[in-house]
Each structure stands twice: as C-alpha cells, then as structure tokens.
Assembly symmetry: C2
Homo-oligomer: 214 residues x 2
DNA sequence: TGGATAAAGTTGACAGTATTAATTTAATAG
DNA sequence: CTATTAAATTAATACTGTCAACTTTATCCA
C-alpha cells in the first residue's frame, strides 16, 4: 500500500554515487570544493537529497576518509611481491606508502588530517575497519619477516608495526605539510628513513648476527 | 593634517589581542569555534574590524599556527636540562615533544594539520621561522650529542634530526588522530619509539662500540 | 579655534554554507 | 482509482568570509 523502499543495493549504489562525486570534487579542488550543494549539482539532484544517504557532512567526510584508506591499502598490497624475501617486502611496503602519500598529498591529508573524528557514528565503523585493514598489511609483513627469521625485533610485532607505520607517516606528513627544510628532497630522506626504521626495530644481537647493514 | 597612523607597537598589540581571542576560542571549541565574528564579539568590536590587522581568515590561522610552534619550541627547550648528558637531552626532547603534543591534541593538530599553506604571504614568513626555530632545537641537540661523541650517526646531523622529528611527529600524529590500535597506550609506545629513533640513527659500528642498548 | 584629512571602525550587503521543516512528486498496494 | 508512503524538492534559518560604502574621530594646519 505504499511506494516500496529502495533495496539495500540501491541505497548502497546511491551512497557510492554521492561518494564518487564528492571525491571528484575533492581531488580537483580540495576540501573547500566539497559541499553538499556542489555534490548535488554534480549528481543533478537537489541539495538536500544527499541527506537521505548521509546524515551530515561529517558522515560524508568519514566515508571519504575510509575510501582513501582503502586506496592506500591497495597501493601497499600492490607493492609487496610474494616472491620477494620478507625483508625486501617490508622495504617495498614502506616505499610504497611514502610514495603514494607524497604523490597524492591531498588524499593523504584527507586520511590523516581529519580533525573531527565524529563521535563514532555507525559509519565510522567502516572507517575504523579501513584503517585497521591498512595497518594490518603492515603488521602482517612485519610478522612474516620475523617468522622467516629475517628480522630480529626488539619489541613485539604489533608494537613494531606501529612504530614502522608512525615513522613512515611522520615522514610523509611532514613532506605533505611542507615542513621539511628546503633543499632536502624526499628522495634524500626515504632511504635513510627506511633504513632507520628497519634498523631501529631490531635488537643489537640481531644486528650482530648479520653484521649490521640494511 | 590627518589622523596619525598607529605605531608599529600599537598595531602589533592589536594583532596580539585578536590572536589571543582567536586562540581562546580555538582552545575551547576547536577550529569550528574560530570565526572573525566570534573573535570580534570577544573583543567587543565589529566583525570587520579585524580585517585591518589580518587580511583574511587564512592569515589569522597562519598566525595561530606560528604561535603553536613557538609554544612547542618552549616546551622542548624547557625539557632539556643543560646539566644532562647530550644523549639524555635528546631523549628528554623527544619525550617532551610527544607528551606536549598528546597533551594538547587540538593545538598539535593546528600545528601540523594545516592543509592550506596559504600561498606564502608576508606573514607566513613568521610561520616558517617558528617552524624552523622549533626544528632547530632538535637539530642542535642532535649535533651536540654527536659533537660530544655520544652519538655515532649513520647520516648527517640535519638528516638525522629530520628523521627524529618525523618519527616523533608520526607517533603523536597517529595518537592524536586516534589511529593507534585500541589498547595500546602511548606510554607503551613512547619508550620503544624513542629507543627506535636513537638506535636507528646510529651506525652499526657505533652500536658495537657501546655494546648496543640505548 | 575651526575645518580638512585620512585612519580606524561600523554597517550593510552578497554569496556561500550546513541543516531542518514543510511541501511536493511519484510509485505501488488494495 | 485512491490511499499510502518513500523519495525528492523547496523554503527557510542561522551561520560564515569578504568587500564596499559609510561614519566616527583624532590630529594637523591655517
């Protein structure tokens, strides 16, 4: 006796459409270029229509951030080749993270510079999952290297992957924000950073066993 | 034959007043609580008056960021006691940075999460100087440790201080943004991070000379 | 002392924004 | 065909940054 509600799939499709439009605006003009009204204009609907699929702008931004984390996860996964030794995979991972972030500074800023965490609505579960999955790529790689005996950690693998993640993020973050002193390009800093992270994670005995280096 | 312009000092005083009002608003309600109109309301002037001292909101935010960097510089300087050995000073520096940032997450976010760098107006020179001075505290401490023979760097001191800075920032940044996996408190991560940074910066030979360990 | 002058400050206006409420459209079940 | 109701649109409110026109006011000079 009434108009049938949209199926879950249809709703998801509309959400995806809104998200895509928002992302397109974001890529071309940064956060300032993202507004419900512009999104609606791109989609050809009225400016209040998206409210049916996102309770507010915060929710839209959260979804955008989750998407950015998914992208980063893909970038990292694409960089680690199974045939490489675990230690090399860890290096590739760090390099991929850094280069992806620096290559798309706006997207990277969207990921990490979200100041309003948004009180954890139902949709921030998706964001949390996206973050966890991205970090998991890192954690698994660290664990694999340790399991293969190629990495002697001075701390537990989870802590190690957090430190690894934090170090890589710190470097990208500073570069993206233009904080690195002029004249020092990222190419100068990436290799020492990766080496510092790898080396710093290991206990001295591990270093001794393999005579240091790399 | 005309009303005398304000002296440089008077202008600076008004700028400082606006800045202070903006900071107060920021501390209590985040970036959303900062607007020219609210600042003016606090100061008791009309909403367009601040435009005489800041060309726009971006310029105001830049000045706020510079002030935050100056604060961080003071925090770090207060933490390094001259009587401590250089190595200990470096550790204290890192701890101070991390604890200051985590203790005031909003202010920290203001420092590093400024997405709009603002095309470098005349006032962003002050921001650049504030950033440089803060980083210099770190660089000088690293150099002192190296000069005292207490730190055998694997890279040049400037690169080392950048890595140090990046690592500390990465950790704080993740904590502030709530990216660290739940259950892992900062107290768990700070000591390993500091050790990782210190250890990672050193060349293997230096480690050998002092038998490893921090 | 009495304008003239120009800086400092105020007000009004415009274009945008997020968000909510009221309204309209349209599909479908009976 | 009609009642129902989800979806979409429109109207409206309360903000925002920014600029232009206007008013106030302190000073200098005649």
């Amino acid at each position: 006796m009434a108009r049938q509600s949209f199926s879950e799939h249809e709703v998801e499709q509309r959400r995806a459409g809104i998200l895509e439009a928002a992302m397109t605006l974001f890529e071309s003009g940064g956060l300032e270029a993202v507004s419900f009204r512009k999104v609606a204009a791109v989609l050809g609907c009225s400016y209040a229509a998206p409210y049916r699929y996102f309770p507010g702008k915060d929710a839209l931004l959260v979804a955008m951030r989750a998407q950015a984390f998914r992208w980063m996860e893909r970038e990292m996964l694409a960089a680690i080749r199974p045939q490489d030794p675990p230690r090399q995979r860890l290096r590739s991972l760090a390099e991929a993270f850094i280069r992806a972030g620096v290559g798309r500074p706006q997207r990277y800023a969207l990921m990490f510079f979200g100041l309003t965490e948004g009180a954890g609505g139902p949709r921030s579960l998706e964001l949390a999952a996206a973050k966890r999955d991205a970090l998991d790529v890192c954690t698994r790689t660290v664990e694999a290297a340790q399991a293969a005996g190629e990495l002697k950690l001075a701390v537990d693998p989870l802590t190690a992957s957090h430190l690894f993640w934090a170090g890589a993020h710190g470097l990208v973050s500073l570069e993206v924000a233009g904080q690195l002193v002029m004249g020092r390009s990222l190419d100068e800093l990436v290799p020492p950073m990766v080496r510092t992270l790898m080396q710093g994670l290991e206990d001295p005995q591990g270093l001794l066993l393999r005579q240091g280096r790399s």
